[in-house]
Symmetry: C2
Subunit: 250 residues, 2 copies
Amino acid sequence: MARYAMQVSYKGKDFSGWQKQPNSRTVQGVLESALELLAGHPVTVYGAGRTDKGVHALGQVVSFDLNRHWAPEKLLLAVNAHLPKDVRVMRMRYVDNSFHARYSALWREYVYFIWTGRVCFPHFSDYVWHRKQKWDISKARRACKLFWGTKDYRAFCRKSECPPSAFRTIHKAEVFSRGDLVWFRVRGDSFLTNMVRIMVGTLDYICTGKKDIDYLEELLQGKAERPDAGPTAPADGLFFWRVGYPWSLW
Amino acid sequence: MARYAMQVSYKGKDFSGWQKQPNSRTVQGVLESALELLAGHPVTVYGAGRTDKGVHALGQVVSFDLNRHWAPEKLLLAVNAHLPKDVRVMRMRYVDNSFHARYSALWREYVYFIWTGRVCFPHFSDYVWHRKQKWDISKARRACKLFWGTKDYRAFCRKSECPPSAFRTIHKAEVFSRGDLVWFRVRGDSFLTNMVRIMVGTLDYICTGKKDIDYLEELLQGKAERPDAGPTAPADGLFFWRVGYPWSLW
């Protein structure tokens, strides 16, 4: 038996998300099919994060076991040859048997892109939230600071999936802009369902003047509920960007 | 009668290029159809440059006449509503009746993207030449300098379309890189058919060690023919980036 880790990049558009479901095209599903075809035995893959329907990934990390040893370089080419064009294995390596893409991860990083121009270039319209309104970037920067640290994110979670404790630790949350493109980068231990998209929807309220910064401060006091926060921003703009482990994986 | 100029961006993939042809989906064709539907009379559009099949544009400039006056802002929205998703009008304005997108242009700028990594992210694989070999960037930079100025580009033109005089003036030609992404940016008065793609194919010979820099110097002496230069690099990596006029258009 050999354990492998791979970096996987995909377009979210034509997937019903990461997690395998009957009668749906999922990233986990197409990865397992490709690996099973090569290995000739059932394979289960574990992803560092479960992306929702429509969410993209540049740096999803996936671990799995195969009965025999493959040179990682050769396995990478073979898997890509069996995958549809909208998923690519970017890197592949052996890992120790104690490694687990999800449980060994120390942090996850997401990037969310917003296009604030009137018209969006067709080349990247699938990868942004086309919000035809300017964001006040200095407000965005001040608001972002409120996310730093350990806070109660119960208002930032899809209601039906909110765990008993919704405390999460955010290491970093920043907003950048260049021309009409705005992006939000956030790194944390782990995230609740829809959490990044609700963070963006809430920032949007603040940056377009619908709410002030105190509003966000209150949402993070642990007394707010899901309907109090902003809307869930569309999946198109969201990228699962990078995963951190105790040692450098690549 | 009113004359308009618009900036047009498109994905090249599903177009047989700019120029109208019977039974082909062309950018000129879809723009004229959309405008004719709005105007209720025949419309001819003129583009600053004719892009080939598969070539993209961010900043194509297009001029045309309509019988009646439209507020440019309103016309922009109306045209976009009648266009397929892979073409977008980014800006629109009135122009003087002496303006012509092609004949008034002083320079054109193209950018060509090359992905030199083993595997390409699916999000931009339609927009690069996936050349799985590293480029020697310092060689690329030295080679680029040879393009500057007025030279005979007969070896850099599709044979059947080479005009009697193939002298062209290049104002600027530069190569940049970041990680596995390399891009070539070139600005000139005007370009021959396939010229930028043959420049890239020739740079590729030099930057991957197949030829040395003297080779390019010789090609530009006016004694070489098309087969002497490098191959025509694929259309996917090429973007018609920007057009310059005697005054700022936007």
